[in-house]
Symmetry: C2
Subunit: 284 residues, 2 copies
């Protein structure tokens, strides 16, 4: 049984908020969507909800309570807002100094501050994988293919790069091919990182054949209920265009959106999609 | 006095090899250029020299010795070669397994192996800044502008990111704006990294005003005679297009190509160019 009566969904960018809202609708579970202005997808308007600016914390909390929500899920990407152009309400204005300070530490700190605020109002903050049970990446291969020995070495190195970048509040993604770190994700996002890997000379991957692994995992110490690394069909397509051998994510914490379709796409394109454990990438 | 009689120059990509050859020519010092096939700039043909494949170590060493070179400088960028398409001579073939193993660790390891081979042949390997004395970045501001307090904080964070990535043999460059890590350099190079920063929404820099710092410094523990991080006029132009406030490099080790022109360009565009010490970025 769910630990809540009615769920609020604060919707950022990307496909995840829509999946969550659609899943709740299919199950007949009530949901109220807060569409973040200029961030949430247009498709979110199909669900009952309100549009709020990202700094209108008073309005967001009021709307959620008015609709009887006792739990809230934050889903989808929220890039650092431009504090100069925000139009905060009184509640948001009271929190802005705190948020501006958090923003100087990175996106993770902003989201952690939002979670804290919602909890202080008595709302239960839940992770997306609590709503869609099979969203968390399973251990092992998702499709037919498995990583080879070289791929596992690349996977471990990329996982270590992300771990090393944890203190800087970046780095949910990295690409390693034949031992060489091809790309590290910062503010540009995974799609842009893969697109630039596709532009590198194939010699840098160590040859013309398919090689290299995209790894996505949470930053060490990050708030695990929001901003989890996610992959899907589009990730596999882009990894294929970048000439990579496969995609690996931390099992249990990274999210796979549309797992069946993602595995099928990987099979069709000849890539592996693999869920690793932290112990697996720590071993040498 | 120079510690050598005649200098050999193994020329990779970029403007630095040309600067070195031209400087020697101006001084009337003899030089022999090994143009790395498909890598060195066409302009290098203006100097006495030979063209060699990157795996033709036997030929490279033979040519250098035949010309009476007793010292050698490796300058310019050399991206990881495609080992499948190399045409090594007997000497290169003997070294290929070693180089392939080094390549799996990253570009730095390949260059370190090359240095070791040249030294084992009795050649003195010298750094580019030994040839052009004022190539190493000076401490403090290069132009009229100096970094402000926020810029110094961004500079320290970017410097720390590069230090953290040292064990992975990447990361001579990073961009931080308002505390947020916008970009980390891996295989794509500094120019490509700055170009993608220019594509990020200005809100991510924390507003419309010029903000953020590009930092370039050597990886901790890297071979300091080859592959030093370098900046020049083009770096300043691209940092300007990316909306950054300035560029900072580690004084004494990073190189500034055409320092006077670089400082003048920074002044014209309203950016700072700053040489920091390791102690300066370690302090908090």
């Amino acid at each position: 049984m769910a630990r809540w009566t009615k769920l609020g969904l604060v919707a950022g960018a990307g496909a995840l908020p829509q999946r969550i809202a659609a899943t709740c609708a299919e199950r007949g579970e009530p949901i109220h969507v807060i569409r973040l202005e200029k961030i949430a997808d247009e498709a979110m308007k199909a669900f009952p909800g309100d549009e709020c600016g990202i700094a209108e914390f008073g309005k967001i909390i009021r709307k959620l309570k008015m609709e009887g929500c006792d739990a809230v899920v934050l889903a989808g990407a929220v890039r650092r807002p431009n504090f100069a152009s925000l139009k905060p309400d009184w509640r948001g204005a009271a929190l802005l100094p705190k948020l501006a300070a958090a923003a100087a530490k990175g996106d993770g700190a902003v989201l952690a501050a939002l979670v804290e605020t919602l909890e202080s109002e008595g709302l239960l903050v839940v992770g997306a994988e609590e709503i869609i049970k099979d969203l968390a990446a399973p251990e092992g291969p998702l499709g037919r293919l498995s990583p080879g020995e070289d791929d596992l070495a690349d996977m471990k190195k990329a996982a270590a790069v992300i771990r090393a970048l944890g203190p800087f509040d970046i780095g949910q993604g990295a690409v390693v091919a034949g031992g060489l770190v091809l790309a590290v994700e910062a503010a540009e996002g995974t799609d842009a990182m893969l697109d630039r890997c596709a532009l590198l000379p194939s010699a840098m991957r160590g040859g013309a054949e398919r090689r290299g692994v995209l790894v996505k995992r949470p930053r060490p110490g990050q708030e695990l209920r929001v901003d989890l690394p996610a992959i899907g069909v589009e990730t596999v397509k882009r990894a294929h265009r970048a000439g990579l051998a496969g995609v690996a994510v931390e099992a249990g914490v990274a999210l796979v959106i549309d797992a069946a379709e993602t595995g099928a796409e990987a099979d069709a394109l000849g890539l592996f999609v693999y869920g690793f454990t932290d112990a697996e990438v720590r071993a040498s």
